[in-house]
């Protein structure tokens, strides 16, 4: 078991050693090659890159160079990403074949490999990460260590103020002071609903002393959101440390992390983190020589969206079907096995240590009047820079999508932004300049949700999108309460009818009525928010719904029954690219002559549309 002094010693020594990670002017001859080992980059073979670098370094017997696997740098669409420190040179879309050149030219000769540098959207070449427009408006608090430290090495976490907040809390603060600090910071739940975190903590503390639990909700079910996973993959200790601080404050000695089994890398990193903490005596009995005891266990989810709902999650931890409980009683009063339980989301926890170290006042100085701090968004869909962004609350959608995200690719136009996943709504371009916080999103019919932000361009049909979300909620509805189980199914049927060209005007009325019933009468958050994608698209894109039911037309050409893909003979030059690309051989035409599509064979996959250099197909 390590004492406070021993941890401090590790911190000092390691911090000096790792100065080059954050200080571009760091002295010394050592170089670190940082390679992203998050899920995005791993999917494009970043592990092979790490192996290749290590192999070359060993073969050439190069000294003073280390290859480090880190968490996500954020800019996933440019992955796999490699960064060389201390000079902070940033290489994008690296393959294992590039490793030799990076070592020979950059590491040995000190020459930058120009061809691997990243080009910003405006075409300027970028050498350093912070020169990218993508990073300029970001402020990293929850993601601070992601991409800086090796998440599988506890000493690196300790070097960057790891466990300093825990030490401060255990040795200098009373339990009430901790809760007061969190309350003063204005931090609100990052899982979606935005309940004030300090208040939640105080409710659990007020319960009579006895067995209490701290739970971390890492069941990130929103398709398209991956910030919780990235935090667990890039900085697992910060979440566990925050759970300990929460445990101290509310009087709990046991924590559970409920994480999706679909996140194998995150689970693996958590296991390593917990083992290392136990080894250092940071989990277990008499932590840091005080009389505080705490231990953490991982529980795996098994693919049920509803388990992100706190009471369903508790049921699942208990080994049962994840069906929500009726509230009240709230988990703070009767949670896991009937005991008082505190549940917070991963990103909420990731803010705690910073608040304790930098003070509530600092945190409350960031953000808007009602929503403090920063929020991490998983920016995806039809946008140039796909990845994770952390911005102060109050940043506008336009800043996120255009300044950070680099706008819409392929010369298309912005149509809507979808926030909050299947529980959220679609925001049209009129609201691009709304400063984002919990209240503003609710007032325009969407919600913060966990922070998925999907950009939709003008080739997408909003009715079809609403159908997509409904399809999701229908299959994820747990079936416990009738409005959600039957209501969502009926809504989906109506949407299918509309998309198939069989809808009538009165269907829109019915859809609206059912949606409101489901919203008002469902037991849990899943059902209460499931109609949001339908209601918001009906509100902002009413014309599109009407086109479907009155004119039997889908202007975006997504609803197959209502569309035909055709080649414009005026523009076609007979290059044959479309014919070659068609997977079902539905295109006919001699080289140099006009081509045409055989409608019976066409599966409307649009591959030809993407291939045509003359934009003759639509």
């Amino acid at each position: 078991m390590k004492s406070i002094n021993e941890i401090e010693e590790i911190r000092k020594k390691k911090r000096e050693e790792l100065d080059l990670r954050v200080n571009i002017q760091a002295k010394g001859i050592e170089k670190h090659i940082l390679v992203c080992h998050g899920t995005g980059c791993t999917s494009s073979k970043s592990v092979d890159i790490i192996h290749k670098f290590r192999k070359i370094i060993e073969e050439k017997n190069i000294k003073n160079v280390r290859v480090i696997q880190t968490g996500c740098f954020g800019l996933c669409s440019k992955g796999p990403i490699v960064i060389i420190r201390p000079e902070d040179i940033f290489y994008s879309m690296v393959t294992p074949n590039d490793c030799e050149e990076i070592i020979n030219n950059h590491i040995i000769k000190g020459e930058i490999v120009e061809r691997l540098l990243c080009k910003d959207i405006d075409g300027t070449e970028v050498k350093r990460l912070d020169e990218l427009n993508f990073y300029k408006k970001q402020q990293r608090i929850a993601l601070k260590n992601c991409g800086v430290i090796d998440p599988e090495n506890i000493d690196e976490y300790i070097a960057f103020d790891g466990f300093k907040a825990l030490e401060k809390v255990l040795t200098t603060m009373s339990r009430d002071e901790v809760i007061q600090e969190i309350s003063d910071s204005g931090l609100r739940g990052r899982g979606g609903a935005g309940f004030p975190t300090g208040k939640k903590w105080s409710f659990v503390k007020l319960e009579p002393e006895g067995q209490k639990y701290v739970v971390c909700n890492a069941d990130e079910g929103d398709p398209g959101a991956f910030m919780d996973r990235s935090i667990l993959e890039g900085d697992p200790h910060s979440v566990i440390e925050a759970m300990m601080i929460a445990g101290y404050a509310i009087g709990a000695d046991k924590g559970y992390i409920y994480v999706r089994a679909e996140y194998p890398i995150a689970v693996h990193r958590l296991e390593i983190a917990i083992n290392q903490e136990r080894e250092y005596g940071l989990l277990g009995k008499n932590i840091l020589g005080t009389n505080f005891n705490f231990d953490v266990e991982i529980r795996l989810g098994a693919g049920a969206f509803v388990c992100g709902e706190e009471t369903a999650l508790l049921e699942s931890i208990e080994g049962k079907r994840g069906q929500p409980r009726v509230k009240p009683p709230y988990p703070a009063h009767s949670g896991l096995w009937g005991k008082p339980t505190l549940i917070n989301n991963v990103e909420t926890y990731a803010n705690i240590t910073r608040i304790i170290l930098n003070g509530a006042k600092w945190y409350a100085g960031i953000g808007t009047k009602t929503s403090k701090g920063t929020k991490v968004f998983a920016l995806g869909g039809n946008v140039n820079n796909v990845g994770l962004v952390e911005v102060p609350m109050g940043t506008t959608l336009r800043e996120i999508i255009y300044d950070i995200g680099g706008g819409i690719p392929n010369g298309r136009k912005f149509k809507a932004a979808q926030t909050g996943g299947p529980s959220g709504g679609c925001i049209p371009k009129e609201y691009l300049d709304t400063p984002i916080d919990y209240e503003s999103l609710n007032s325009i019919g969407s919600m913060m949700g966990s922070g998925g932000l999907i950009v939709i361009d003008d080739t997408k049909c909003m009715v079809n999108l609403a159908k997509f979300y409904l399809d999701f909620t229908v299959s994820e509805s747990c079936g416990k309460c009738t409005p959600c189980r039957i209501g969502t199914k009926r809504m989906l049927e109506i949407l299918e009818k509309i998309c198939n060209g069989k809808g009538k005007l009165e269907d829109l009325d019915n859809l609206n009525k059912i949606a409101n019933t489901v919203k008002n009468a469902s037991v849990c958050g899943l059902g209460q928010t499931a109609p949001n994608p339908v209601l918001s698209t009906m509100k902002y894109f009413e014309e599109e719904y009407k086109d479907h039911v009155l004119n039997y037309e889908c202007k975006a050409k997504e609803c197959k029954s209502l569309t035909k893909i055709e080649i414009n003979p005026e523009i076609c030059r007979g290059c044959g690219l479309c014919k070659k690309a068609c997977p079902v051989s539905a295109i006919e035409g001699e080289p140099g002559k006009k081509h045409h599509i055989i409608q019976d064979k066409c599966i409307k996959c649009r591959t030809c549309m993407q291939k045509c250099p003359f934009k003759a197909i639509n």
Binding site: T39, P223, F226, A302, G319, V386, I456, P583, I603
Partner: protein
Amino acid sequence: MHEKQLNCDNCMEKNVKNEVENMLKNYTKEKDNLIKILNEIQTKYGYIPQIAQMAVSNYLDMPLAEIYGVITFYSRFTLKPKGKYNVSVCLGTACFVKGSKELLERAKSKLGIEAGETTKDGKFSIDETRCVGACGLAPVFTINNEVYGKATVKKIDEVIEEYMQKD
């Protein structure tokens, strides 16, 4: 049927039963271990065989129906074996808006099965998944553990062809 399976010498069920019983020794008999145990069985066999359910039922002293209820609730657990090559198309939102539905349709028509089914020869199965987390590479499909990003209908065609040539 239960008896018959237990009396069957050298059959697969018996092996599975023994293996699962050995596996169970690593767990205490608390009922909240159920999902953990099922996760391990699913990972090992690619589905949850009936004989394994019975073993778990005995061990945790829980009715089989309750275990069945839990299995059918969670999408990760399956009662049927998956194919040797499991084609899994991501239908997360980021992939959806980039056309992953077309990929799924193509995989289905190419293999002649629906999502959740396995081909008769046991070689292929198709799954719909919700977000594998590689949104930067959307649209994405996976075959076993291999991830194919920035996919097109043509690409999924070619990749499936490739696997068809394999054993």
